[in-house]
Subunit: 234 residues, 2 copies
Amino acid sequence: MSQLDRSLIATLPLFRSAHPAELDRVLAGARPLRVTKGTAIFEQEAEAHSFFLLLDGHIRVVKTTPAGDQVIVRYISAGEMIGIAHALGRDTYPASAIAAVDCVALAWPSSLWPSFVAQIPGFAATTYQTVGSRLEDVQARLVEMATEQVEQRVARALHRLAEQSGRQTEAGRRIDFPISRQDIAEMTGTTLHTVSRLLAAREARGIIAGGRQQITVVEPARLLVLAEGRAPRG
Amino acid sequence: MSQLDRSLIATLPLFRSAHPAELDRVLAGARPLRVTKGTAIFEQEAEAHSFFLLLDGHIRVVKTTPAGDQVIVRYISAGEMIGIAHALGRDTYPASAIAAVDCVALAWPSSLWPSFVAQIPGFAATTYQTVGSRLEDVQARLVEMATEQVEQRVARALHRLAEQSGRQTEAGRRIDFPISRQDIAEMTGTTLHTVSRLLAAREARGIIAGGRQQITVVEPARLLVLAEGRAPRG
DNA sequence: GCGTCTCTTTGCGCCAGCGCAAATTCGATC
DNA sequence: GATCGAATTTGCGCTGGCGCAAAGAGACGC
């Protein structure tokens, strides 16, 4: 691990209030990890032996059904923890984590979790917050899936991606990692065909700019305009 | 609060390892609550001033969209904590909690949470586990919503309800609180019409037995038989 | 016992979006 | 720069399940 990594870690909410000596001890126990694009950091249903801190890159968290369908649960960006299933009382990972680009991460054995909690002030509270926000995010998406049409779900997914993982360019906010129509379909519960059609329509209206494995949101505001003011069903 | 309640609480995983003296102190700070059927324990978007322990009854956790659609996120049974949003770093409740039947609960101000964590051994870990299992549950339902047809989603919802909140009778496992077709529609992202049709079909095959605001699962095994072995889409 | 209200059932038409198929485009590789 | 493979686009027919409407069926109050 480089000095650069160390100073990066020290600025994270998770470790901000750690004493330098504790931080060093914690980092000394870490196993550095380089993961090439497309490779799994961990696999669904495998024993949750480690937890991870993503230092660089983007990770796709995917659940696969017995029938073989895949659903993208979320994307993880640099600075976030991942694979904390064991700390939440699970003994296997509930999903697979796949590198969307080449990634750099740190890994610790799950058994070290309690010492993190004990030694780093605020670590537990920050983790609670992270889990809380993930829970709320998934719940919000469940509500979307239950009540909104495909068009709106795709629009929201793009909006969220641009917000969370977008890089500002002169053309608009560009999603910072390769993402296919298939990926968006797996985020929104539809097919790549429908996604392709919807994106083409948005592109014609100048709201987004597409490309191969790549999307730029030109006008975030116009992305969601259809989503409000509909009569509830039932 | 009755002596009965006190001994009930002492057997919960959350408080099992608390010393009697600590337990007493904690319970002394609680505000007992009786909630009549249909009333809200707390409302979505209200300030998360309290957390609760449900002693008796069943609570429906509902999210309402700006458009007015409602989605039932989960049901809470006796012995579970609810309204812990503040402990997860939220300052408002992300959903409303509505009593499905007359309920009895204890309420504490959110500000007391840290003292619970500090004074009761295992409290934090048990809460982590609860949150972890809720997160996994919601994720699993997101995957269902994204990949399965309405028929399967309804079947799974019934299965889950019978499992978690069922009471064994001679006719089968009966869901222990009043639940309408509309409620099931709001759990599965469909309409009460479709639910009614699907339930009628299952009833004709003897898999379930319906009634007004009430469902008994006669043959849990045959509920899900259609759910496996389908070709993935895409 | 009667009326009312809510929950449930059922019929019918329609359309969003899936499934399948084929063409096209874009990168990458040699 | 020719070839190959993967990602994307686009057409077309079909159907699951929604929307609307109206009729039954319990439960509950008076």
